[in-house]
């Protein structure tokens, strides 16, 4: 019971595909002993109201994230390049979304 390892189980990020043809979306994270258990807990925590048809679990430690301090060099240069957006095209009425 005092074994700290049993308390600090690894964290997993959960991705759910809600319908065939749609992408897996990040829905949250949970702790589990291993990926297999994470998959089962994801089923119990995130799909109990029929939210999904497929689940991905990813060890949170395996995710490489961009850093806040890189924001200036990563994102700011794009702010003054509106010509990269397709907003100036007029969409035909029959196309609802693009």
């Amino acid at each position: 019971m005092t074994d700290k390892q049993t308390v600090h189980r690894p964290l997993f990020e959960i991705f759910i595909r809600s319908k065939r043809g749609l992408d897996h979306k990040h829905v949250g994270s949970l702790h589990a002993e291993n990926a297999q258990q994470a998959l089962e807990y994801a089923r119990d925590c995130y799909t109990r109201r029929s939210e999904g048809v497929s689940i991905w679990v990813v060890n949170s430690g395996d995710i490489v994230a961009s850093q806040e301090e890189d924001a200036a060099s990563f994102y700011d240069p794009m702010e003054d390049k509106p010509y990269r957006h397709a907003t100036h095209y007029v969409l035909p009425d029959s196309i609802k979304n693009m």
Partner: protein, 258 residues
């Protein structure tokens, strides 16, 4: 004909009682499980069993209506307004939750049994029972997947988890015999292919349970003692306790709904 109808009602209610009492026991872990994810998972399993009980009781209520007309009981009345001796559940499901090892050991032994039982019940000549079984078996496959993993994890885990698991198995082993004991009404319905021959499931159950326990480095307890009686309404002292908690609201405010 009347006797046959009574046998069927008794049988359906007994199956409902097994589900309701186990579901009620599992729900006691809600807010008390070792960690949040397991808390939610256990509550889901509990709800599966309570949902199953509801299907059995609704069917029993329909059957009663055919015979008793307006004097028939509703599903809620069957669940909440009977006394200890009128409950027909197996003793193994009424035992207190104990520690997490006991809860999982009980769940595992019952899940293996349920899987074998429901695989047969889907072929019942009673189409309603077959339909309930068809829905329940999918849930049970998942329950077993979970309880099996916990047996392996705890049995082949730390010294403490191993010891707790062995103790749990020893404590509940004598109650497993009742899983394979036929009640009079079940035997009567067997000829028409409505009920299932429990006794025939014993060897498969033993084989599956023994293999998994060996894999989990756990000893199969010896058959030193066994108790039965739930199907005749002869319960352990724990049944009154669980009913007192479960029925409190309906007893205090009869007919209350939300």
């Amino acid at each position: 004909m009347k006797d046959k109808q009574d046998d069927l009602i008794n049988y359906v209610i007994a199956l409902g009682d097994d589900s309701l009492i186990l579901g009620q026991r599992l729900s006691e872990w809600c807010y008390h499980a070792p960690f949040l994810e397991e808390d939610l998972a256990l509550a889901n399993v509990a709800l599966d069993f309570i949902g199953r009980a509801q299907m059995f009781y609704e069917y029993a209520s329909q059957l009663e209506t055919r015979v008793l007309k307006e004097n028939a009981r509703s599903a809620d009345q069957i669940a909440f307004l009977r006394d200890t001796r009128d409950y027909r559940n197996l003793l193994i499901v009424e035992l207190p939750i104990g520690d997490f090892a006991f809860t999982m050991a009980r769940q595992f032994t019952v899940d293996v049994f349920n899987q074998l039982y429901l695989q047969q019940l889907v072929n019942s000549t009673d189409s309603t029972l077959a339909a309930i079984a068809g829905k329940a078996i999918k849930e049970t496959d998942y329950h077993l997947r979970r309880s099996q993993e916990w047996m392996l994890r705890l049995g082949d885990g730390t010294d403490e988890s191993h010891q707790r698991m062995e103790k749990a198995l020893k404590e509940l082993w004598g109650y497993t015999a009742e899983l394979f004991t036929m009640s009079a009404y079940e035997t009567a319905l067997l000829r028409d292919g409505i009920s299932i021959d429990r006794t025939a499931l014993c060897s498969d159950w033993r084989k599956i349970v023994t293999e998994l326990l060996q894999q989990a480095t756990l000893k199969v307890p010896s058959d030193e003692w066994q108790v039965t009686g739930g199907r005749e309404g002869l319960h352990t002292e724990h049944q009154g306790d669980i009913l007192a908690k479960m029925q409190y609201l309906q007893r205090t405010y009869p007919g209350l709904e939300w």
